[in-house]
């Protein structure tokens, strides 16, 4: 397969090393970090308005976190050797920390927080359900069915403490993903101290937008009404984080243009040609400016509830697409130009290959499957009654 090259590439540079799967990885961990931070808002800062999304946000974070290592694993030349990262982690490697940051975040933060929050439900269900589900709940109780008031109060306090640790952990999880790229001095498209912080804020943006959309979608599927106050609040957070994210990205851009170092001419040409569509049109205009404008309008003008919901849905979708485009432009864009600054190569995405489009689509659907199972197992709806002994009445359409 001949890869089209323009100008001069070092001969080993023609083939791209990091594929669409490595685009998915920061996108997915971004959703995790963002969803978790939204959940933490309610708990740590006591924002009651977003309470309906608390458990949903946690479960969303968990389902995406479980999928996060899969694109990496599939991408490795020797997937069977990935455990070496735990055995002999290289302390000077940003990537070596992945395993530990991931484990910490999964085991110590997310699972623990969810477990503590759901423990009462789990214990009750382990006694009321039957068959396989009963067994699952029994395992989840660790053989202890203490749900005394005091124990629940301890859980609550411990959960609060974990959330406190969880916020910096979420920042760490995604900040370090930014560092993986930002610390590559050989690559001027990546090498920037702003990279980790841009990654964190874009993660929050995508996570908040995703939870907002999931909340709207799931309430609709259950035939309930969304709490518009909650939605307004989330949309407001989305707008503010987006403004910070956009300012940071523009700061990076302006800095690059003004400094115009040795790589600038090459990168500038790339943005105006190969990345024009994905960077300028999709990422900046459609994926950032448009949702900010839409969300900004809802703050300035008085719209009816229905119109606001529509705007939020549209802005949320544009945001998620825009953040995906941002990951694409970082990962793929950073490999399209030669480190000699004299030429450009082309990324040819496979279709039904190990690192192809089909795999990427499957990996993006998978978290929703996991979320579906988690929601069945641990219903996050505040109105469904967390004690299953009370039979939930069939949903009435009230709207």
């Amino acid at each position: 397969m001949q890869i089209p090259v323009e100008g001069f590439m070092y001969p080993n540079e023609v083939e791209l090393q990091w594929s669409v799967l490595i685009v998915l990885y920061p996108f997915i961990t971004g959703l995790v970090a963002g969803a978790f931070i939204l959940a933490s808002l309610e708990r740590v800062f006591r924002v009651d308005a977003v309470k309906p999304t608390y458990r949903l946000a946690l479960l969303t974070a968990l389902s995406f976190l479980l999928v996060a290592p899969l694109p990496l694993q599939l991408h490795l030349g020797h997937p069977g050797r990935s455990f070496e990262m735990y055995l002999t982690p290289h302390s000077s490697s940003a990537m070596a920390m992945f395993g530990f940051v991931y484990l910490w975040y999964l085991m110590a933060v997310l699972l623990l927080e969810i477990w503590l929050d759901y423990r009462r439900d789990i214990v009750v269900k382990s006694e009321t359900s039957s068959g396989v589900t009963r067994f699952i709940y029994r395992v989840l109780t660790f053989g202890s069915n203490v749900i005394s008031e005091r124990s629940l109060r301890i859980d609550e306090r411990l959960g609060y403490f974990i959330t406190l640790i969880g916020i910096p952990s979420a920042f760490l999880l995604h900040g370090y993903v930014g560092f993986i790229f930002g610390s590559v001095k050989a690559n001027p498209w990546w090498s920037s101290p702003l990279m980790p912080i841009v990654f964190i804020f874009s993660a929050m943006v995508s996570g908040i937008a995703a939870v907002m959309l999931l909340y709207m979608l799931s309430t609709r599927l259950r035939g309930r009404n969304v709490e518009i106050g909650c939605l307004d609040k989330i949309a407001q957070y989305l707008l503010y984080t987006f403004l910070i994210d956009f300012s940071l990205e523009m700061l990076d851009l302006i800095h690059r243009i003004y400094e115009a170092d040795e790589s600038f001419r090459s990168l500038d040409f790339m943005v105006h040609t190969r990345l024009w569509m994905s960077q300028v049109i999709v990422q900046i205009l459609l994926g950032t400016v448009a949702p900010i404008a839409l969300l900004g309008l809802t703050q300035v003008l008085k719209f009816t509830e229905v119109v606001r919901k529509r705007i939020y849905a549209l802005a949320g979708c544009l945001t998620v697409v825009g953040i995906f485009a941002m990951r694409w432009n970082v990962v793929i864009g950073g490999q399209l130009f030669s480190k000699s600054f004299l030429g450009y190569t082309t990324y040819k995405m496979g279709f039904a290959t190990r690192e192809g489009l089909l795999t990427a689509i499957a990996l993006m659907i998978l978290p929703f499957g996991i979320l579906w199972i988690l929601v069945k197992l641990l219903p996050p709806w505040p109105d469904s009654g967390s004690i299953p002994a009370l039979v939930t009445p069939p949903a009435h359409r009230t709207s």
């Binding site: 455990f83 735990y86 055995l87 002999t88 290289h90 302390s91 085991m107 477990w115 423990r119 109780t141 660790f142 053989g143 202890s144 203490v146 005394s148 005091r150 124990s151 301890i154 411990l158």
Partner: protein
Amino acid sequence: MFKDVEHLIRLAAVMAIALVAFVVLRAAIVPHSFGQYGHYRGAAIAEIAARPIGFAGHDACEGCHSDVVDQKKQGKHVVVACEACHGALAKHADDPGSVTPAKLDTAVICARCHEADSAKPKWFPQVLTADHSGGLACDTCHQPHSPKIETQKIETKTKAEGKQ
């Protein structure tokens, strides 16, 4: 008193067991020579060094082919190693009978170095082969081991061609 935190104690126990299992497994799996010289498998150095060689090196050739060495001393190609033209021949050096070096096509081999190119240093002898020899093999006139033209050789060649 501990009754209310029983679930937490059980959880901590599970985590402790997992941690111990990890430490034990790690000790068992990590290669022994890891860390011998630094953060890598020390035995890898010897493994990489153990790879068999392909090019014997001109010292090995010169041990047997002293006649060619003498011939090369007459001309500028004295600095060119044998395997630069003849290719990798460690197997031949080890057991001369096992591999016989192929006869070289001088029309191709010589042009690799001597085809004119403005990027080549000016001191380096270079020709446009099409104009210079018109596709004739270079060893029609030049002795590759000592390429300076010997008038006598050309005469014999011309005579030989004349007789045909």
